[in-house]
C-alpha cells in the first residue's frame, strides 16, 4: 500500500519557493496516480451515495445539490473515465430507453480499490485537521 504522506520517488520538489509552486502545479498531474483530487473524491462519494442509481444525470444532480457548484458533462465524464481507468470504478450499460431518444444509460459502481482510495483520502484529511482550529 502507498503511504499518502510520502511522495513517490519520481517526484522531485524544488527548494526555491517560486519554482516549487510551479512544480506543485506540474507534479499534481503526475501525482494523480497516487492521490485523489478533490473533484475525484466528490465524484466517488456521489457514486457511493447513489448506490444502484448511479448514472450520469443523478451523479451530476447529487454533486450540484450538495456542493453547490456547476458540473459540466465534459468534466464529469472525463473524471469518471479516469477513475474507471484507475479501476476505482466500474461501469455497465443498461437497456436503451425512449426518454433518452433510444440510448442506454451507463451505470457506475465503486470497486474495492475505490473504497480504499476514499478511505486513504479521508484519513489523510483527518490527520491534517487533527488539532487545527479555524479563527
Amino acid at each position: 500500500m502507498v503511504d499518502p504522506l510520502v511522495p513517490p520517488r519520481c517526484i522531485a520538489m524544488s527548494k526555491r519557493p517560486l519554482a516549487a509552486a510551479r512544480d506543485l502545479v506540474y507534479n499534481s498531474e503526475l501525482m494523480s496516480d497516487h492521490y485523489l483530487g478533490e473533484f475525484e473524491q466528490i465524484v466517488l462519494l456521489a457514486v457511493l451515495r447513489l448506490g444502484d442509481d448511479a448514472y450520469g444525470v443523478p451523479i451530476r444532480r447529487e454533486i450540484e445539490k450538495r456542493c453547490e457548484r456547476k458540473v459540466t458533462v465534459g468534466a464529469l465524464y472525463s473524471t469518471l473515465d479516469r477513475l474507471e481507468a484507475k479501476e476505482y470504478l466500474s461501469s455497465w450499460f443498461a437497456d436503451p430507453t425512449a426518454e433518452r431518444g433510444g440510448r442506454s444509460r451507463r451505470y457506475f459502481r465503486l470497486e474495492p480499490a475505490g473504497v480504499e482510495a476514499l478511505g486513504r483520502a479521508k484519513s489523510m484529511f483527518e490527520r491534517m485537521w487533527k488539532g487545527v482550529r479555524l479563527a
Partner: protein, 858 residues
Amino acid sequence: MAELLLRRLVPGRAGEIIAGDLREEFEARGGGRIWYWGEVLSCVAVRLSPHRLTAPDLRQDLHYAVRVLRRNPGYALTAMVCLALGIGVNSTVFSMVNELFWQPLPLPHSGRLATVGRESDGMACSYRDYLEFRQRASAPAGSLFSGLVAYNDMRVAIDSGGMSHIVGADAVTSNFADVMEMPAQIGRWFRPEDDRLGSDPVAVIGDGAWGRLFGRSPDVIGQRVRIGTQRYRIIGVASPGFVGMSPPHMVEIWMPLASQPDVRDLLANPGEWERPLVQMIGRLADGRRTRDVEAGMRALDALIRHDFPRDNAPAGAVTVALATGASRPDVRRVAAPMAALLLSVTAVVLLIACVNVANLILSRSAVRRHEMAVRRALGAGPWRLARQTLAEGMVLGAGGVVLGLAVGYWSGRLMARSLPGFPHGGMLALRLDPDWRVVAYAAAAGLASAVLFTLAPAMDAVRSNAGVSRRMRQRDVYVVAQVGLSLVLLIAATLLVRALGHALEVDPGFAMAGRLEARLSVSEPEYTADTGRLYLDRVLGSVRAMRDVQSATISQNTPLSITAARCAAPDASTRPRRAGSDIVAAGYFDTLGIPIVRGRPFAALDRQGAPEVVMVNETFARRYWPGKDPIGQSVWLGCDVKESRTVAQVVGVARDAKYASLDELPQPFVYRSLAQDWAGSMTLIVHTAGRPEKFTAALRATLTALDPNLRVYEIETLEACASGSLFQVRWQAALLAVFGGLAMVLAAVGLYGVVAYAVAQQTRELGIRMAIGAQRADLLWMVLGRGLRLTAVGIGIGLLLSAAATRLLGGLLYGMSPLDPVSFSAATLAWTVVAMLASYMPARRAMKVDPVVALRWE
C-alpha cells in the same frame, strides 16, 4: 447540430451515453438550447484541454491570453469573426471536396466496403464473370469478401401523377442490402427469389423519391409503377440519407439486376460471357486488407479468363479500393481541377482574413506598449513576450475555428440550396455534413493562420525598439497585399462571369430561339419500332396543326446533350472510329435551321426497305474523304468488326454544329434517318412563332389528348437546355463571385482600419494644420490620398498577379482571352470605388476635427 458535433468529437458508445444524458436533462429542464451548447462545448474543451496537451508554462500563457481577450471583447470578437468568415468558406469548400474524395458511404461499417474496378476505368466485369467472382471470392466458399454485389448505374423514367420523372437508378443483385448492412425504412429489400428468371419485377425507392412522388404515404408498398419499360411493384423504401454508391450521383430507385432485359436475355442464353457489363462493390472479409484482396482478385480474374476464354474481355487489371467519395474515376477526374481551384481561392480568402487580424493585433500592440514595457522591466525576455502574443493568436484562432465551423455549416446549407442547379436537376446531391476530416481541416487552417497572423506582431515584440512609424509601414504592406490578393479573385470572378455570357453567344450551329423540346418515351411494351413510327407521325401531324407552330420534328436526342456515339468507318477493312450520332426525322434540319452544304436532307423516299442512307457533318466528310465528294460514299456503321455491320450511303452533308456542349471542338457526326433506325425514347422539337415558354401547357395538352398513356417528361426551351449545359462554369462563376466579394469586403475593412488608425494617430497633426489655416478639403485629400495611394500600389501588384493567375482558368473561358481588358478594368474600377468609400469615412472624421480639442489631445 450540437448533437452532431458531440457525436463527431466523442465517437462510439461514450458519445451515445453523453448524448443520452443530455437528452434526458434537456427534457427535464424543458429546453435550453444555450445550455445544451454549453455542455457540448465543455466536452470539446475537455477533449482539447491544454491540461492534456501542453506544458504548464504555455498553459499560463493561454490563461493570460483568455483573460486579456475577455477584457477586450470587441477586439476579440472582430478578430474571431474575420477568421470565422475565412475558415467558414474554407470548411464549406473542403467539405465539398471531402464528399467527392474521402467521405465513406453513409452506411454501417462503411470502412470495410470496397469497390472493384479496372485500371482502364471501365466496368469491372460481365455479369457472368461476377457470378464466378462471387462464388470464388466471397463467403462461404471464398475468403476475400464477406459479400460481393454487382450493380449498374442507369437513368430511368418513373411515372407518377401523370408525369414521367427521370431519376438515377441502380440495378443490383439481391444480396445488396445484406452486404451493405442496410435495413429498409418501410417494407423490405430484395430476397434471392427476386433474382430468379420470371419473378415478379419489384423495386425499392429512395427516401427523396418517396417524399417527392408519393407524399411519404405508407401505402406506397405494393403499388405498381412504371419504371422504364416495365411495371414494377414497390416493396420498400430505403433508409433516409442513402443515395446510392456513386455520390454525388443520386440514386433513387433500386431494381433487381435480373429484372433488366439484358440480364434476362443472358440468363436465357448460357453461351454469352461478354455482356452485360456490371460494376462491383463488396464488403471485405474480416482481417483482409485491400491490397491482399486486390492481389487475390487479380489471380481469380486470370483463372476465370482461363476457364472461360472469350474475345472481348474487359481491359486492364482488376483494382480494389475502399469506397470513399465519388467512386467513379471519371467524376474524380472532372472534379479534381475544380477542387484545386476552389481550395486555393478560399485559401486566399483566409489569407486576407489573417492579414486583417494581424493588422488588428498590430494596432493593439501600439496601445499595449506600456504593458509590454512593464513586463519587460519585470524581466520577461523577448521570446517570452513573443510567446505571449502567439498564445493570444492561438486563442483567437481557436475561437475562429469554432465560429468558422458554425459559419461553414450554415453556408454549406445555403450553398447546397442556392447554387445554380445541375443539368437534370435533382440527379446530383451533395452531402455537406461536417465530419472529423472537416473539423481537422478547419483546426489546421485555424492553427496555421494563428501562426501566420501573430508572426509579425510577435517579431515586433521581440524587437523592443519598434517604433510607431515602423508599425505603420508594416500595416501599409499588409493593406497592399490584401488589395492585391482580393483583386486577383475579383478579376477571376469577373472573367468567369463574362465567359458565361460569352459562351451563351457562341454560335451553336443551329437556331435556338422559339424552339421547344419535349422528351417522349415510345418504348416497349406499348410500342415497337413500327407502331412507334406510326404514332410519332400522328404526334407530328397534330403538333404541326397547332396554332403558332411553324414546324416540328423528331430526333433521338436533345440538341446540346447528344453524348451518344457510334462506330463508323469508310470501308470494311478500316478500323472503326467513334463519331457522334443521332437519329432524326425528315424536317429536322429545317426546324433547327442547320444548313445543308451538299446533297439533300432525309426525305420520304428514305424509308424502310429502301437503300440505307446517312447524313454526315462537314468534319466527318473532311476526315474520311478529304478533297473528295462525300455524296454517294459508303459508311460502315457498327463497332464490332466481326459482326454484320450496316452499310449506308451518304446523301447529304450538314454544316457543323455543337452537339454535346457549347465549348466542344468540331467533332465528326453521323445522322441516321428515323425511318431506318429506332430508339425507344425520342425528343419532339417544335418551332413556335410566339414565346416558347407560353406554349408548354398547350403542347402537353395536345400530347396527352393524343394518347393518355404517353409519357412526356422535360418540356424545356432549347435556350434553357443550352444554359444548363454550362453548369460547370456557372457554378464556378457563382462561387468565385461570392468568394471574391467576401475577399473584397474583408480587404476593404482592412483598408478602413488602416486609414482610420492613421487619422487617430494624426489627430494632433491635423489640428495643427487646421489651426495654421489648412482648408478642410486639403485635409480630406490628405487622408483620402493615403488610402488611394495604398490602393493604387495594391492594384498594380494585383494586376500583375492576375495576369499570371488567370492563365489557370484557360479551359473555362470559352475562347476568351485570360487577359480580357474589360474584366481587368471593371474589377479595378470596382476596387477603386470601394477604396474611395473605405477611406472617405475616416477622412470625413478628420475634417470634423476641432483644432482646439486636437491640440489638447494626449
